[in-house]
């Protein structure tokens, strides 16, 4: 190896574009993506707490952002990310015990986590809108 010329554009390790997509891979990637999204969400939660402590004027701006379409979309994505990361995290707890690793089971639970992430924000929104919680 010493002194050999390095071939250009040599792949170092296989990455996303190399693989045929399958559902457990999607779940794995989504777990990292939603984790990063929730990192942002937790930072926003901290900023929200700081705004509450800072007083009504500072809070008014935060409240305005939350109520705006962008804020509502962000909240929706945060709840969806939380739902996925939660479901898939529990899936990984099961994996830790050695169970659920058969392809059929792993595929099924991956689909469940993804569908749960889609359903959960819609369900919570419906509960808040029509559930009569705040009467």
């Amino acid at each position: 190896m010493a002194g050999a010329t390095r071939p250009q554009n040599r792949p170092l390790s296989p990455f996303l574009t190399v693989w045929r997509w399958h559902i457990t891979m999607v779940a794995s990637i989504l777990h990292r993506v939603t984790g990063a999204v929730l990192y942002g969400g937790a930072v926003l939660l901290a900023l929200w707490l700081l705004a509450v402590a800072a007083g009504p004027e500072a809070y008014a701006q935060v409240g305005w952002v939350l109520a705006s379409p962008i804020g509502q979309i962000a909240l929706y994505l945060l709840v969806a990310s939380l739902a996925f990361h939660l479901a898939n995290g529990i899936r990984h707890f099961v994996f830790d015990t050695g169970a659920g690793m058969k392809p059929v089971d792993a595929d099924l639970t991956a689909w469940f986590a993804i569908l749960f992430a889609i359903a959960a924000p819609i369900g919570l929104w419906a509960l808040l809108s029509f559930g009569g919680l705040h009467r």
Binding site: Y39, A46, G63, G89, I90
Partner: protein
């Protein structure tokens, strides 16, 4: 290896600090423990906000954070979440950032930034409850 090198260093001394950091198990356990805490705290926070915050306004935010259970719960949530996400972001940085200096800066920011923001968030909850 085969050349007779004159050195006072023992073979063990030469290989030390060239392997794994030896902190993987602690990372694994800390990540799982905080994950278990967050399953409870995350679900509780969603439910509590939905049930007790009647609107997104300032007064109801103060009301929510003034209840002792909510204040303690939110503080625990912030601490567990920040610890958990510090570990997660550390792995993401280590996976994707190869340049040692950039990696070191990002890991440092990840740790110190979250400690600073987390301390601020906890202090904010205390201020709401005990006044400025």
């Amino acid at each position: 290896m085969n050349a007779p090198q004159r050195s006072m260093r023992t073979p063990l001394g030469r290989v030390r600090a060239h392997g794994a950091s030896g902190q993987g198990t602690g990372h694994f356990i800390g990540q799982r423990v905080s994950a278990i805490a967050l399953v409870v705290l995350g679900l509780w926070f969603l439910a509590a906000v939905m049930l007790e915050m009647h609107n997104p306004g300032f007064v109801s935010a103060i009301d929510f954070l003034s209840a002792p259970v909510n204040a303690v719960g939110v503080i625990l949530l912030v601490v567990a979440a920040f610890y958990h996400m510090r570990l997660g972001m550390q792995v993401i940085v280590e996976d994707y950032i190869a340049k040692p200096s950039t990696k070191a800066v990002l890991l440092l920011l990840n740790t110190l930034g979250l400690i600073a923001l987390g301390a601020g968030a906890v202090f904010a909850v205390l201020i709401v409850n005990f006044g400025a």
